[in-house]
């Protein structure tokens, strides 16, 4: 096993990774920006090194600083977490060049799966259903218009370099295509430094279902069941659960098998997530692949008992997976609620400020992943996630009651700081959610009344 792992991330995921490293006897080094010197992971880790100022571009996204720090502390591997540079092929390549193990897929696979148009083609090549759309980045507006006309409106424009729900624009009326196409390209350029976009059919009432897979890089891939992540605002997940409620088991099993098939085709190494859209009429459609540990991985851990970060480390260290498919026996239901510093009443706008009170829930079957503590400052430099509250129960009704209890118990707030806590309790109460009839449109519909 590795002797020292540099954790190239911040916040709750950095702490979560450090915890598993500690349990495996691996020395951990946290990196921090100037404003994170007193963070929970900086205190937890065996060592902490400051890599730049608060602005992520100059610290957590600064590949040279990350690799220099890793070499300086004698790390033999780098865990990129999620977000930031976790799926950046350059990061994987620079690590390799510097003699560091990048804990994730290879640079070339990151490059191929990171190109969303290419990923669509790869999925289609192994026989996965994909939504009708452009098979390459759109070359011209005329091409966009002709493909959109062929597959029929509504369509969705997506950045080739995008992912995680960012950089998408829905077009419902052909007259809006000119404007939306121009804005999608401009937005993609700003957000990802790559203006290329593609388009596909947009499903108004679909469910976001994803499959957690683990691969050893030698053709062995297993899945850890599916997650329903349909509760989203602005295409960003807010609440996730497993198993997917209201989805016929047979359909869920077919989706899981499809994900395994696709991952096997690319000799996937480590933890990854295959995302699908499911609609009642057309079955399921492959969307994109996330080549990293996922924010919502705790729900899968709670029903399977498998530590996903441990498996990532095992695979990256060349030990292969410590489990086989038959060891994956999901039990009960888990729900994760993301407590973000955002104001649901103002379009989920982040609310920076000081979190004066911070007392997360605890007790039976409740897991909290957080870097929060009283007095912590929420700055606009980083994302607004304060804590993930994940609960487990034998069945969905009990899990919902437990999630509601845990959220109610969570005392969190401070001057200027709003959170998604109360809004999530409204979701848990919502009859459409309770009946497991919700789609990705749930929150928009809630906003309407």
């Amino acid at each position: 096993m590795f002797s020292t792992v540099l954790i190239a991330n911040r916040g709750e995921i950095a702490l979560r990774i450090a915890r598993t490293c500690r349990e495996l006897g691996i020395r951990t080094v946290a990196v921090c920006s100037d404003s994170d010197r007193e963070s929970a992971v900086a205190r937890f880790a065996d060592e902490s090194i400051c890599i730049g100022p608060a602005a992520a571009r100059r610290s957590y996204l600064n590949l040279a600083a990350l690799v220099t720090a890793a070499l300086q502390v004698g790390a033999d591997a780098v865990h990129p977490g999620y977000g930031f540079s976790s799926e950046d092929p350059d990061f994987a390549e620079i690590c390799e060049y510097a003699g560091l193990v990048f804990i994730g897929p290879t640079a070339s696979l990151l490059a191929r799966l990171g190109d969303k148009a290419e990923a669509r083609n790869m999925a289609r090549a192994v026989g996965l259903p994909v939504l009708p759309g452009s098979s390459k980045p759109l070359a011209t507006l005329a091409q966009a218009r002709s493909i959109a006309a062929e597959i029929g409106y509504p369509v969705i424009l997506k950045a080739v370099a995008g992912g995680g729900g960012r950089g998408m624009r829905v077009v419902r009326d052909p007259r809006d295509l000119v404007r939306e196409y121009a804005q999608a390209r401009a937005g993609a350029q700003t957000a990802f430094g790559d203006s290329r976009v593609y388009l596909e059919k947009f499903l108004e009432n679909a469910r976001h279902i994803e499959v957690q897979i683990l691969g050893d890089g030698h053709g062995n891939v297993l899945h850890l069941g599916e997650r329903d992540c349909s509760v989203q605002r602005r295409r960003q997940k807010l609440l996730e659960e497993t198993p997917a409620p209201g989805l016929p088991r047979e359909l869920a099993d077919r989706i899981c098998a499809a994900a395994v098939q696709a991952a096997q085709a690319v000799d996937y190494a480590g933890a990854g997530t295959y995302e699908f859209l499911v609609d009642d009429e057309d079955g399921f459609h492959a969307m994109e692949v996330n080549c990293r540990i996922q924010v919502e991985h705790p729900v899968t851990e709670m029903v399977t008992g498998i530590d996903l970060v441990r498996e990532q480390l095992h695979v990256a260290a060349g030990y292969g997976l410590s489990i086989r498919q038959e060891d994956v026996v999901p039990r009960g239901v888990a729900i994760e609620c993301r407590i973000n510093a955002e104001d649901p009443r103002r379009g989920f706008l982040p609310t920076p400020g000081t979190v004066r009170e911070f007392a997360p829930p605890a007790g039976p079957f409740v897991r909290v992943d957080t870097h929060g503590e009283p007095g912590m400052r929420v700055t606009p430099d980083y994302d607004s996630l304060l804590a993930k509250v994940t609960v487990w129960a034998p069945d969905r009704r009990q899990a919902i009651a437990r999630a509601d209890r845990a959220l109610e118990e969570f005392r969190v707030g401070g001057p200027g700081v709003c959170t998604t806590r109360d809004f999530l309790r409204e979701v848990l109460e919502h009859p459409v959610y309770r009946a497991a009839k919700h789609t990705t449109a749930l929150i928009d519909e809630m906003d309407m009344y």
Partner: protein
């Protein structure tokens, strides 16, 4: 001069003693005062510890100067801190002369060191003029962002002594 020296070392003693108290005293302190004869050292903490919400920092200039960590600037003390994480070099090559030595006076913008990161040599410059009082890391030491590298005293102070 002798008087002055004695005074300084007596004061140093006071400070050392105060420091001992600080490092051993439990909990947050409000004030520490050490006195000997006509000399005294007194350290006091501000009432409020909680800092207000920060200004937006997302897009500062790339040339931003890091604040030094663990060493306070004051009217008498200028600190040059590491602008990036990397390896600290005092000279262009092992054979070359150091950019600056203790006692040298540096101009604003003058190169004082190199920090190497990923084979790239990054110049460290003085952002204010001053006389070098101390060089903190040794040649070849790893340094992190914000780590104090040089202690300078302002040129004004030096010229008034002349």
């Amino acid at each position: 001069m002798t008087d002055d020296h004695t005074g300084q070392s007596g004061l140093g003693e006071l400070c050392r003693r105060a420091g001992e108290i600080l490092s051993t005293a439990p909990g947050p302190l409000k004030r520490v005062r050490v006195q000997a004869g006509d000399m005294s050292v007194e350290v006091e903490w501000p009432e409020a510890v909680v800092v207000s919400a920060p200004a937006v920092q997302a897009d500062q200039a790339v040339a931003e100067t890091p604040a030094a960590v663990g060493l306070r600037e004051s009217p008498d003390v200028i600190v040059i801190a590491a602008p990036l994480v990397g390896t600290f070099y005092r000279a262009v090559s092992p054979e070359s002369r150091a950019f600056v030595e203790v006692g040298d006076t540096v101009e604003q913008g003058q190169q004082v060191a190199i920090i190497e990161a990923m084979k790239l040599m990054n110049a460290v410059q003085a952002d204010r003029p001053g006389r070098v009082v101390e060089v903190l890391p040794k040649n070849g030491d790893p340094v992190e962002y914000g780590e104090p590298l040089f202690v300078l005293e302002p040129c004004g102070l030096q010229s008034s002594q002349k």
